[in-house]
């Protein structure tokens, strides 16, 4: 199992610099949450780690020098957005998570089918397996896409806003599922409670740079939220749990 690493990475979209010399090392099995205001570079950081965008400068390991299917066997990626035009059945959407294990093959192996079943159950969408993806709510689609990422059975998982559009019950179920992942997890989120609940380290981003990082208890402070998010918020501590009230 490899560590995920960005070394002095710069990513630009036209004139705009999305990542500005970022260094990050995620150890195998480590759970890291990325937080920061809109446009701070969280999504681009995940894309760079997953080899989806190629940086103009710097090194990305291991995705930087691998073919796409090889990357997908090591790193699963849940994008922030997806849009479906055709009504694919949910189980086919999730089965696409097995693409990298046998690209071009017509039928799934027994292992593929088992991975799909396990992923559907873990994301709580087993009952939706025959439904067309176009007929699902935003929250249901989000869980299906999470199941697809889990079906990849990769040792590292990159999740962009995994709890967006979820109701409370499913948000908690998804967070519980993420906590049980034994591989490395990097999740970008605006849900600061979720970040504190899932991650052993929080990385704070602003203007394409990492401005702070450390354990949730030391990072989630009222002063930092005021400085980075420009809001007056209170931090409530309940045993191991941290709640942000804005």
């Amino acid at each position: 199992m490899d560590a995920l690493e960005l070394h002095r990475v710069i990513v630009r979209y036209g004139e705009r610099t999305a990542l500005d010399g970022v260094d990050l090392l995620v150890a195998p099995g480590e759970h890291v949450a990325l937080i920061g205001p809109n446009g701070s570079g969280k999504t681009t950081l995940l894309r760079a780690l997953g080899g989806i965008v190629k940086p103009q400068w710097g090194n990305v390991r291991p995705a930087g020098a691998m073919a796409r299917d090889e990357v997908a066997r090591r790193i699963a990626f849940l994008p922030q957005e997806e849009h479906w035009e055709f009504p694919f059945p949910v189980e086919e959407v999730v089965a696409c998570g097995r693409y990298a294990h046998a690209p071009g093959l017509f039928r799934e192996s027994v292992e593929d089918l088992a991975a799909v079943d396990t992923a559907l159950a873990a994301a709580g969408v087993a009952t939706l397996r025959r439904r067309p993806i176009t007929e699902l709510s935003g929250g249901e689609r989000r869980r299906v896409m999470l199941a697809r990422a889990l079906a990849q059975r990769a040792p590292a998982l990159l999740l962009d806003e995994p709890t967006a559009a979820l109701d409370l019950e499913h948000r908690n179920a998804v967070l519980a599922a993420i906590r049980t992942v034994r591989g490395a997890v990097v999740l970008a989120t605006h849900d600061l409670d979720a970040a504190a609940a899932c991650a052993s380290r929080i990385v704070v981003m602003a203007n394409g740079r990492i401005v702070a990082e450390g354990p949730p208890a030391s990072i989630l402070t009222e002063a930092l939220l005021r400085e980075v998010f420009r809001v007056e918020a209170r931090i409530l501590r309940d045993g191991d749990r941290i709640h942000v009230v804005a």
């Binding site: 989806i52 299917d69 690209p103």
Partner: protein, 322 residues
């Protein structure tokens, strides 16, 4: 049996039935006579086989381009390939270039050259750094479609009455061929090669259904898949347009009809569209024999039959869903 396999099997049965029935529609063939055998083996059978090949190519191209562009209304005409191919053939007809080559090679070669030119132009116009985003591909294709359609009209307008009439007859789309089995063999070969390139991409196209980023996340090399799919679909369209003219509607109606029957998975949809498209065009050509008066070109018949058929399927689905 899953629904996808059932629909694929149904498409195969439909194609086989169409191939058998089509040559006999509108004619009583007496195999005991020389004339009867001539009509069947020299006229009707090659025509039915050409219909199977042309229909297979156009319907397959429709599925592929819809998957690449993630747009259910995309067809081979949306991306300018058919118009470019048609323009090349129209120019060749006016200048007499096609007759300089062997008749059964001139037209497809010119059609392919037109398709390759449009593929290159569209690709160059749509490329953003090392990517070809679907929306820029679509815009470039639509622009080239209008450009080549206008140029076809300009050439036709300036042509002699005889050439203008030939062009008009060819543009309507027809399976009339004087090359007997040469045309079906070339079109069939192009379809087989195209399907060999496209069938392994079925699951990649499924993964791309949620967007490029989602597909790359599960390991699809989207650039490679788009390039291969676009090239293969465009080249088979170039070959069939050269032989049969720009027959419309098939690339839209066949994939949609199959989707309305519940087949969305591209691994099954690609071969099912090839079979159903081939069967549909062969049948349409056969039905043209049943109409009174001079036989209508199949390009008109596909739209006369396809339009109401498609509407009926749509209404049935609407009643079921809403």
């Amino acid at each position: 049996m899953t629904r996808a396999r059932a629909v694929l099997l149904g498409a195969a049965v439909f194609a086989a039935a169409a191939a058998v029935v089509s040559p006999f529609l509108g004619a009583t063939i007496d195999f005991s006579t020389v004339e009867g055998r001539f009509i069947f083996f020299e006229l009707r059978l090659p025509r039915a086989l050409l219909g199977l090949g042309v229909g297979a190519a156009l319907a397959t191209a429709g599925v592929i381009l819809q998957a690449i562009l993630r747009n259910p209304l995309a067809t081979e005409y949306t991306l300018g390939v058919a118009s470019g191919s048609a323009f090349a053939v129209v120019v060749a007809v006016v200048l007499g270039i096609d007759s300089l080559l062997k008749p059964y090679l001139g037209q497809p070669l010119v059609g392919m050259a037109g398709a390759v030119l449009v593929i290159w132009l569209t690709y160059r116009a749509a490329r953003v750094r090392d990517r070809v985003p679907p929306h820029t591909l679509l815009l470039a294709g639509v622009a080239l479609t209008y450009l080549f359609s206008a140029m076809i009209l300009a050439v036709q307008y300036r042509a002699t009455p005889a050439d203008a009439s030939r062009i008009l007859r060819w543009l309507v789309g027809s399976l009339e061929t004087t090359h007997r089995y040469v045309a079906p063999a070339i079109v069939g070969g192009a379809v087989v090669l195209g399907l060999a390139a496209l069938l392994p991409l079925g699951r990649a196209f499924n993964a791309m259904g949620g967007g490029e980023e989602a597909a790359e996340g599960v390991g699809v090399d989207v650039r490679r898949v788009v390039r291969r799919g676009y090239l293969a679909a465009s080249l088979i369209v170039g070959v069939v347009v050269a032989f049969a003219g720009p027959i419309g509607f098939l690339g839209l109606i066949v994939p949609h009809a199959l989707r309305l029957l519940g087949l969305v998975d591209n691994r099954y949809l690609i071969p099912a569209a090839a079979l159903a498209g081939g069967g549909f065009l062969a049948l349409c050509d056969g039905f043209a024999n049943l109409l009174p008066g001079a036989q209508l070109p199949v390009g008109i018949v596909t739209q006369l039959i396809g339009g109401p058929f498609f509407l009926a399927l749509l209404l049935r689905e609407k009643r079921r869903t809403y």
